[in-house]
Every structure is written in C-alpha cells, then in structure tokens.
C-alpha cells in the first residue's frame, strides 16, 4: 500500500527531472554549474571540514607549475572597497609535490578536479599538461594565461593573441583532457582572444581573471603589496566580468565558466544569463566558505520558482532591448 502512495525513488527521479543542473564543459560533465576559482580554494582539502566538497560541480585547485614556486614576499593581499587585491605570486608545490601531497585526497572525491596550470614558456605549459594527462583521473586542465602577479609567464600569454594560440595549441597536442583557457580581462576587446583560444583547440573559456590594480599606504608612501601591483577580485569587478562574459559568449561557441565577484545565486544567475555555462566562486570563499553551496541551492530555488527544468535554458538568456 505504502509504496503505491509514495515511491521515494520515483519522487527523487521526478525532482531530478524537475531541475537538471548538470552541465557539460567539453567532455567533462559537472553535476551542477558551480565550481570554485583557482587560488581561492587551495587544494580542496583545506575546506573539507567546512563544507561537503562532493556537492560542488568541480573542485579547481591553485595554479601549478612544473617545479615548486616560493611566491612573492608579504604583504600579499590587501582589502579594498568591495574587493581584494592579491599578489601571491603563484606559490605552489610543483607538479610532483602536488601529486604527492594533494592528489590522493582529490582523486578520492566524487566530483572532478580541474587543475589550473601555468608555465613560463609554451613548452613548460605543454609539459605540465602532459604530466597531468599521464596521471589519470583529472577532470580538466585550466590554462592560466592571465596571472598579473608574476613577471615571467602568465599575463603576457593572455594579452598576445599569437602567444595565446601557441600555448593552447601546444597543450592541445599534449593532452586529451578538456582544456579551459583562463582569459585575461586586460584587453581592449576580449572577442579576438576568445576566438584565438577556441580556434587553437580550447574546449572552454574561464572568464575572468583578476584586474591589474594597486594600493598605496599614504602614511608610509609604500605600495600596500610587496609586489607593488596585484590583481583585483571580488564583488567590485562583477560588472566588468559580466560584460566580458557577455562579449566572449557572443564571440565563441565553446562554453564559458564565468567568475568575478560571485557572492550568491543572483550573481551566478547574472553570469549564466550573460552567457556562462558554469560559474566559479572565488574571493567569497575567503569570507564565506559555504558560498558555492548556497549558490547551488539558490540556483535550484530560482529554477523551481520560475519552473525551469534545465539550467542550460538560462545560459545566455539575457534579452536585449529591441
């Protein structure tokens, strides 16, 4: 009798059908469109006590280069109006250190890990990609061609369309893993760079990295960051990031992971409507570690309230005035 009235299994199935949050980034399937931004979530394990990582769309780790990197002197971050400037300098354990220290934990997760990689030469990018290709079980590689905080490597690859093509093409040859190219915001127009990454074989774009920025302590007359300049992130950059996502989405067919100042589901939905297939929570993790989970919940609530079954229906759905 009871089972005739309520079948929990079929009800769950109904619910799942009612709101399908899954998205596809190249060959990578994510159970929902919400991930975290590289460098704001460590290697996942640090947050394991505070939230259930297995509820995320994916875990994205801090940028990794072939060899260990010590990073910049301190101070490395400074708080500004509705934002943060950072100049960490990509401190990291290198490929081997990462595999030894963090991979055992990450590969045990039920959700995919996206590894953010960088190098100082095209060859180094490709070599790092090859190493992770060989590791097995990696969800995707995100090519950081846009870190403003290190002299060699990073930014110049993201603001020179020819170099950008070369990096993407070299990594494309080195691995079959889905490639996500992390775009620099620091360009006149993002369209040609987005196109260049797509043409060179990138499966997706991440838009956007931080904005070059600076703060000065007027009492000491010294820059507030030891590195002098850094990258601006947080809610303050959201309106610029939304515009970049919107423009990039018009320029390419590959999916976009939108990020920049996301604090809640409304912010995430703004990115999705602008054209992002998935989103990443960055700076907000630092002050509210549960943000990504609240965003997932909020997107589900929104979809139920608006009777939307598939999150992909919202992607790029902003309606322009006639």
């Amino acid at each position: 009798m009871k089972s005739e009235i309520r079948n929990p299994m079929s009800e769950a199935a109904n619910d799942a059908r009612a709101t399908d949050l899954s998205v596809q980034i190249g060959s990578l399937r994510m159970q929902n469109p919400v991930t975290v931004a590289s460098g704001t979530f460590g290697y996942g394990v640090e947050y394991a006590e505070l939230l259930d990582l297995n509820q995320l769309g994916a875990v994205v780790v801090k940028g990794i280069r072939l060899t260990p990197v010590r990073g910049n002197p301190t101070p490395r971050t400074v708080e500004v109006a509705s934002g943060l400037i950072n100049a960490i300098g990509l401190q990291g354990p290198g490929v081997d250190g990462f595999i030894q220290k963090y991979w055992p934990f990450l590969k045990g997760l039920k959700v995919p890990t996206i590894i953010n990689i960088w190098g100082t030469t095209v060859e180094e990018y490709a070599e790092v990609a090859r190493r992770f290709d060989g590791l097995g079980g990696v969800g995707a590689l995100e090519l950081n061609v846009s870190c403003p905080n290190i002299k060699e490597g990073g930014a110049q690859f993201g603001t020179d369309a020819r170099l950008l093509s070369q990096v993407v093409a070299a990594c494309r040859k080195a691995t079959r893993l889905p490639l996500i190219t992390k775009m620099s915001p620091n360009v006149v127009s993002i369209a040609p760079y987005a196109k260049a990454a797509e043409d060179a074989g990138s499966d997706a774009l991440a838009v956007t990295n931080s904005y070059p920025a600076m703060a000065i302590d007027i009492e000491t007359r010294r820059p507030k960051l030891a590195n002098v300049t850094g990258g601006l992130t947080g809610p303050c950059i959201k309106p610029i990031a939304i515009k970049l996502v919107w423009e990039a989405a018009k320029a390419v067919k590959i999916p976009i992971i939108g990020m920049g100042g996301i604090q809640n589901a409304a912010d995430a939905l703004e990115f999705i409507m602008a054209g992002a297939t998935a989103v990443a929570v960055g700076t907000a993790n630092f002050y509210e570690p549960q943000t990504a989970l609240h965003v997932i919940e909020g997107i589900r609530d929104f979809m139920q309230r608006k009777d939307i079954r598939d999150v992909r229906e919202i992607v790029g759905s902003v309606q322009l005035p006639k």
Partner: protein, 261 residues
C-alpha cells in the same frame, strides 16, 4: 574547525584601549586550544569583505571571549555592536601553543599588547604556574594582569614611559630572569614582530626553547589563500609557511628572521 553564527553575549570596554567581546559559540568553544584564534566576520562592514582574526582569550561553557583593540574599520564597527547581534566565526583555527606537561618545564610568558589575550588560556591550562612578562608603551597598554595573578602567576610589568611597573622594554626583566636560571624553563611569546624577534634572539642566546605566536595579516584564515606566510627553515633553504595553519605558533628556531620584513 567549525563555521557558525555566533551571538554576542556582551561587548564592553575592558580598559581604556581594549574591548572584551563574549560570544555564544557552542560548536567552537569546546574545541579551543591555547594560542588558537577565531576568524570573525563582522557583518555590518559590507564593503570591507574580509574576516578579522582574534586570539581566543577565554573559554567558558559554550562561550568564548576575545580582547580587542579598536584600530581600524572592522574593530571600530565591532566595538559598537550590542548584545544579541550576530557575528559569524570560524574557529578554532591555527596551531597553538604546546601546553606544558604536568611537572614539565616552567613556562615564562612574554606578551605585548593583545598578546596577553593569546596567553591567558595557556596560563589557565598549564599544570604549573610560571611568570608572565608583559610590556607596553603606557599603563593602558598593559592588559589583564589581574587575571594572571588570579591564576597564581607572577606578573612582571614594564612600560616604556614608566607609568606602570618597571620602566623599559619587556625583555629587560626577562633577561634578568634568564640570567638567574634557564634550567627547565621555556618561553612562550605573543606580541608585535620586533618583540618576537627579540625573544627569539634571547632564546638562542640563552639556549632555551621558545614558541612564538607570529602576527601576519590574514585573508582566508584556513590555509587556502597563502596570504599569511612567513619564511621557515626547510633543509638548507627556507620556504613560506602559513601563519593561519602551520602557525600562528612556531618554534623560534624555525623562523628565518633575515627574510621577514
């Protein structure tokens, strides 16, 4: 490590310069070890996003207390919050002090400014009493002497202007005491970086062990952002380690002072 909404039980001026905040934090309070801190989100700040780290001063039942000085926008706003209002805290965080073993070493605590707050729980949990050396610029910078005396500790206060205790730096009476004897003694220090550096030097000179609670600006407080690093010996070289995770308490012999600011 737990994140929870915490309710303000009381928030009152403790001295001319410091406020004492007590919050109800049933999940965090029972876990606290001496030298650990709470990372507090002051919700009315709005445009200032980051949490602020504060050493946990006292634990009582399901509450913990901090002692804080109003120095900037966060602490200023905090000082105007009232009982019943909400904050959010992540804690307890960090690698704290090693509580002395019963019958083990005699603790000599060295504190400057809010460093006193960080040491109180250590004094409370230490099986044997010791001496607290506390220093500041003026009388008002000297915190909670009474609390330490109440625990049966000896307190030696110094002020730079001589308005309270001995005139001079906190290291003076400490040197005198170390000259008397170092046997079975261990230093625990928390305060401004120059003080920690001086204590580190004395520890080396007198060959006594020392644990220092380092003061670095923080962002995430849980080890993901790599803001709070200090240079720490690693084999022949050094590497950056996180004050919020590997610290704030480090063995003084590990810190590479030449590289610190």
């Amino acid at each position: 490590m737990v994140e929870q909404t915490v309710n303000i039980v009381s928030n009152e001026r403790a001295t001319d310069l410091y406020f004492r905040l007590v919050v109800r934090a049933p999940q965090i309070a029972p876990l606290v070890q001496p030298g650990q801190f709470a990372h507090v989100r002051i919700l009315p700040l709005r445009d200032a996003l980051l949490r602020r780290p504060f050493s946990i001063f006292q634990v009582e039942g399901d509450t913990f207390a901090i002692l804080y000085k109003s120095v900037g926008k966060g602490t200023e706003v905090l000082s105007r919050m009232r009982p019943g209002e909400e904050l959010n805290a992540i804690g307890p965080l960090g690698h704290g002090f090693t509580v002395p073993q019963p019958g083990g070493e005699t603790p000599l605590l060295v504190a400057g400014g809010y460093g006193m707050a960080a040491m109180h729980l250590l004094a409370q949990r230490s099986p044997q009493t010791g001496i607290v050396f506390v220093g500041g610029r003026r009388r008002v910078d000297i915190l909670c002497e009474e609390e330490f005396r109440a625990l049966g500790w000896e307190v030696r206060a110094t002020t730079e202007d001589g308005s309270h205790g001995e005139k001079g730096l906190v290291t003076q009476p400490l040197i005198a005491e170390l000259k008397r004897t170092t046997a079975g003694r261990k230093l625990f220090a928390c305060g401004p970086t120059p003080m920690l550096k001086a204590v580190g030097r004395l520890a080396e000179e007198f060959n006594v062990p020392a644990e220092l609670s380092m003061d670095e600006h923080m962002c995430c407080g849980v080890g993901v952002c790599l803001t709070c690093v200090i240079p720490v010996k690693a084999g022949d070289a050094w590497e950056y380690q996180r004050t919020c995770t590997e610290g704030p308490v480090f063995d003084s012999r590990e810190v590479v002072w030449e590289v610190t600011r």
